[in-house]
Symmetry: C2
Subunit: 441 residues, 2 copies
Amino acid sequence: MLIFHHKLNGVLLEKADTLIYGCTVLPMNGKYFIEDGAIAIKDGKIVFVGKASLVTSIKAENRINAKGKVAMPGLINCHTHAPMTLFRGFAEDKPLTVWLREAIWPLEAKLRAEDVYVGALLGCLEMIKSGTTCFADMYFHEEIVARAVEQSRIRAALAQGIIEAGNKELGRKMFRESVGFAKKFNGHADGRITVLLGPHAVYSCSQDLLREVSEKASELGVGVHMHLAESKEILQGVSEVEFLEEIGFFKSCVLAAHCINLTENDMHILSKRGVNVVHVPVANMKLGLGAARIKDLISLGVNVCLGTDGPASNNTLDMFETVKFAALLQKLTYMNPTVLSAYEVLKMATMNGAKALGLADKVGSLEIGKRADLILIDFSKSHLKPLHDVFASLVYSARGSDVDTVIVDGKIIMENRHVKSLDEISIIEEAEKTAADLLAR
Amino acid sequence: MLIFHHKLNGVLLEKADTLIYGCTVLPMNGKYFIEDGAIAIKDGKIVFVGKASLVTSIKAENRINAKGKVAMPGLINCHTHAPMTLFRGFAEDKPLTVWLREAIWPLEAKLRAEDVYVGALLGCLEMIKSGTTCFADMYFHEEIVARAVEQSRIRAALAQGIIEAGNKELGRKMFRESVGFAKKFNGHADGRITVLLGPHAVYSCSQDLLREVSEKASELGVGVHMHLAESKEILQGVSEVEFLEEIGFFKSCVLAAHCINLTENDMHILSKRGVNVVHVPVANMKLGLGAARIKDLISLGVNVCLGTDGPASNNTLDMFETVKFAALLQKLTYMNPTVLSAYEVLKMATMNGAKALGLADKVGSLEIGKRADLILIDFSKSHLKPLHDVFASLVYSARGSDVDTVIVDGKIIMENRHVKSLDEISIIEEAEKTAADLLAR
């Protein structure tokens, strides 16, 4: 008990804004949990994590009796394109190039800023309802995504996408916009929004542009969010990773999604350069692209986190699902059930995600001094009974729909599955209208 | 419209027991759906499937306005060990043999009939809550599982397990019990229970015993439920499938779970002998056993259905999850996103399952004259919006928790997620007590 007790201070003992008590608490800064635990929140920050018996006398505006629930850090989705909710289920079971060329790109060409807003709101809604408190997004009209993030009260690391695709003019324009977005929106929405630059991929941006992006990111002190080694593309005889290494790209802090097709040398480069790898198991399987070798990356010390990808290739934003897919896909890939334990994969979905987004000191675990981003999961349901192992139950049995309460930056944004920050019905109606209109254009 | 209209008759037009209307109906006897559809049920049977506008004047005791919902046949789980809910999350991330020898078998040795009852009830509850209306079970004390099935009002094809494991005496005893169970329980619970014989696997039963099981099954006119080619076991230089072929085992109607490790010749034998293959993607991945080559089996004309396996190796009984895993695992295995379309995998979870259990004339699709086993899925939720493709949405986005209403044999056993046939809270309490007691024994 002492490990928590000594951190109590006078202020806390008197008053908090929110006190959650009676639940099992998984701080996720180590493989342990606290039964009959409590979390106290003041001014958006966690001011107590420990046994509920230590804070019985505390006064709090919101007292949440969380008996029968599990409290843990909110899940962090490190790679998505949230506005693509609008394309969910559109053009299914097709090869990647057909899907992109004949379905997704023609629709995206017709996308207006107001469509992106509706799609992003629907994405934020879906993420909140399934326990995600922070996401890394890369898309067009990212300033509109920022508006949706601000409104929904979720946390996000946003990047305006840059695609050159052989058109230098276009590349320069998108680069300027990505930089402009980053300068304007870093720290936006009371600090809940942070930014990255968003070069789409090695094959869609030129060497010169990638070099500039990397230099600019270092200059601005922000990271770079990109797709890496998703397909088997080879550039001038070297792998994508070798190519980026050669041009010095990894001097900036890189968030690299997918990383399926890596040589051993590639893995060593990613490790040496401290690249953050986002594993995206559901979309990688759905598009038949292959399985990243996450166990190898982890054993080389690479920080691996998780992402859903856009809902057009998943088709959800449900990180609980991604957590289960990630664990099972690694066990299959290595034909070994001991690979990627339940605790390890939950860490990927929380603390490793926070690290990857440069938010390790802010979120990702339940610790005194961190911002209060956390979720309560209702463990009263039949598929979670009996409870032998809380980590295994969260990974192998729990569902996004079991998330009952979501708190971001200390604010309760969902309680008893009711989202407080957004009007669910009107967002859904708008999204349906927008999707129909988009198809008719 | 005519395809449905001509099937209407005088009796139906006057009165039904239950009328469901306003929903999108997926009959699953072809790749089509009916918008603003209706289903009428009388005496447990489907008496109408078609446009709601055709049955506006019909009288019915229960009128269910299902606007915004999707109606489809209930899902059929073709391989599980339902009472193993008690072991959910017990001993995780361990190699198969350690898991079995050090965790599962010692616990099973302590299992009493009353424990199996509680575990089976919890399993039935979980299945109903996630849209399964019929399951194939193999375990010990199967007469107790039958009691749980009768009480919960679900449908099931049950097999008392037979394990010889080198002990001829034990083998003969379990064989007699499996036959005794089959004779006693076929057609039980108003016909909702059918039976199979349950030889555990090739490696756990002798050649003589397997031959006798096969002959007895043919004599009784029942099928055989077993594990097949789950591991890489080789017997006397031949594969498990070749071995069974040589001893004439496939003369009986076989439901073979897993079928991961098959040679091309094995696949041809399964096809030639009309063996029904149960694909079990979640448990196969979780235990690191490999991926069955379902596309190849289908192209050889094999009837492939789906199963969850027991909740100790899954760790749920959620067929919606299994449907998504099945589709994605095949796309990954063949590195091709066009493999196993959404419609095909839904057919595996419904009609193919009915065929595999010898229930094709009774359930598996929504057709006039079939028993009314169906589910309503609530499509109002954010992760199911917008709706571009109902088949894709059911496979890639829907969750067991989106199932709103469950009807088995014409009876509404869940409505608005409230299970009517079982007392949810007391079952969960009993299961927790039983699991704790089991560990303490």
